[in-house]
């Protein structure tokens, strides 16, 4: 299996073989972060730009660390410090960046399709770091990596995704990825946060979270997307946390070896209690750790090999 794509725009465009190639490649990069000298020369002389129009801590840092551990030079551009605030369009920003010959651009944007637009303008590899409610492919890949690492396999898993499904790019990308495997996916959340036609993706919708998490191997909690108007879909945060906040007693309904995942940032006390987030079933920090290895793998596959 060879990688032949210029960009990583979404999971939707990936085959199962490509997903497995990324996960397997990540395996070989995971050790590097545990060494005393956490650096290999793989991407020496390459330039990686992170272009973030939306706030991010994890994803951007994770990409930057991944690139640096592979010896690439990294430049971070965020909306608040870019010409975006002076009214420059994405197209012009892209053309200007392209003139400086980067090898990869990682873009996060509030509008679906922005990475696709960027990829048509630039010759560099474009990596989607999250576009609106559309996709967040690297998050889904690190989630699958973590599931495989903790459970030994992805096939056969029962995965409950809980929360604001409608506005969640994490949920979409995870569903697209998990559908390549023999998995049972149950989505749960307030009916206003379950998009119409969701079942057409081959997932089961269960409004009652208690039923959704029963016998689950994986519980994936999502945050309310306040920046996408998520708050107007529910009467109050308090009521939401009463009905859909994951508490210790819920976890008992799941399989004994259930893992609790969350893409971050968490709203502690809203969708997840401290006890659960910091408890023995939580793999939330493992996700973050694996994120670096998965993003190293993606950078390597996209720009690390000679043509």
């Amino acid at each position: 299996m060879n990688w032949d794509k210029k960009d990583l725009l979404g999971i939707k465009e990936l085959s199962k073989e490509e997903i497995l190639l990324i996960l397997n490649t990540a395996d070989s990069f995971k050790d590097i972060s545990k060494r005393e000298i956490k650096k290999v020369p793989t991407l020496r002389g390459k330039t990686v730009i992170t272009l973030f129009y939306e706030p991010s801590t994890r994803t951007r840092t994770s990409f930057e660390i991944a690139a640096k551990r592979l010896s690439a030079d990294t430049i971070n551009i965020s909306a608040s410090t870019s010409s975006y605030v002076k009214g420059e369009t994405l197209k012009d920003t892209a053309k200007n960046l392209e003139s400086m010959k980067p090898d990869a651009i990682i873009i996060r944007h509030s509008m679906p399709g922005a990475p696709h637009m960027l990829s048509k303008i630039v010759d560099s590899s474009v990596i989607n770091g999250g576009d609106g409610a559309h996709e967040h492919p690297t998050q889904a890949l690190l989630d699958l990596y973590t599931m495989r690492e903790k459970k030994g396999k992805i096939d056969g898993l029962k995965i409950a995704i809980i929360g604001d499904i409608a506005h969640s790019r994490v949920a979409r990308s995870n569903i697209f990825a998990l559908k390549h495997f023999n998995t049972e996916i149950i989505c749960s959340g307030p009916p206003t946060m379950i998009p119409p036609y969701l079942d057409s993706l081959g997932v089961r919708v269960e409004y009652d979270m208690n039923k959704a998490i029963t016998n689950a191997d994986v519980i994936m909690m999502l945050r309310i997307q306040k920046e996408r108007g998520g708050i107007s879909y529910i009467p109050s945060i308090k009521e939401y946390s009463t009905i859909y906040g994951l508490k210790k007693e819920h976890v008992k309904k799941a399989k004994k070896d259930v893992i609790i995942m969350h893409p971050g940032p968490m709203n502690r006390g809203v969708e997840i209690t401290d006890e659960v987030a910091d408890g023995p079933y939580s793999v939330i920090l493992d996700q973050v750790e694996n994120g670096v290895a998965v993003r190293m793998a993606i950078l390597y596959l996209l720009i690390g090999r000679e043509a």
Partner: protein
Amino acid sequence: MKILIKNGRIIDPRHGIDEKLDIYINGNIIERIDKHIGEKGGNVRVIDASRHIVSPGLIDVHTHLREPGYEYKETIKTGTMAAAKGGFTTVVCMANTDPVNDNKSVTEFIVKQSKLEGVCRVFPCGAITKGLKGEELSEMGEMYEAGIVAISDDGKSVKNAELLRKALEYARLFAIPAISHCEDEDLSKGYVHEGHASLLSGLEAIPSIAEEIIVKRDITIAEYVGSPIHLTHISTGGSVEAINKAKKQYRKITCDTCPHYFTLTDEATLTFDTNTKVNPPLRSKEDVAAIKEGLRNNTIDIIATDHAPHDFTSKDVEFNIATYGISGLETAFALSLSLVREGVLTLNELLKRFTVNPAKLLNLPYGELAPGKAADLIIFNPDKEWIVDKDKFQSKGKNTPFHGWKLKGKNLLTIVDGNIVYRDNTF
């Protein structure tokens, strides 16, 4: 000038003509339609239309010419050149210009500019409310005197039902129809149709009920006050069903759809091509089937273009912030001819929806071929294949999702008021 069109297959739905005849045009009127008309005297331009079809010039009840105010998107000149190329001899231009066509001075400007620079007939549509704001009635009486043939706040619905009621009542004074853009603005905060495709793209979506609620509301108001209502750019199966049902008990309802609503589905938006961003949005394949059925069973009376030309920059941005609309005048007729090949409509029924039905809606003396009538006609070949090239558009708006499509059926010659205003370079 005298023009003799020989050996064409003449189709005129108004008079039920479909046979090989000659047409003799003297000045700006049709003088004779008959078999084997000879050239009497000199100075007659003879056009051989054998193997082609001659029909009344098409009438578009829904065009945006953008002038005044948005001349960088389109002008009356370029818009009417696009119309002529597409086979249209009459267009109705919507009021959302800058300034809005909500008073007689703007109407007068459009009428004057059309006489000066337009290559086909232009009839303005006046705004229902001042500034399209949905707050006060515009001076439709004065605009009527200046030349409007309909009223519409196209681009949005009149949100206030009481105000719409008053507008429908008041417009009866001039016997002009109201053209209703059906969209509940609270339900339509999105960019694409709400369905499987929007689930995949994550784009904020507009449910079909955003249109259907207003279709039903506007029909209810029109029926209550006894005024005519024309529902424009109908895009959903639910709307077709509601209109079909309502027409059975109230006769003054008409509606139109546009070629993109029976040609494309919401799947086209998955590429994030901003040329597929249009309002109402491209709907599901079930809706497309329902629109075709609505055309077949006469629920949908008219095919309009909703020609919405835009400058390159306003489409060359992220999908969310791109403008809505398709530059449609130059592809509408060819796209519609596929309905004939698919068996949805006969050629005669299709031409009805482009000629006699719009003429009837707007009370215009066009859309027919008869001695003594204006010489507005086209010669087209329904089988001629061509490839859509946006760069060859007469319109300034190159925003088409059909660029590169191979279409079948081409307008070859357009005559408006006895003048040849367009001739295809292959004819």
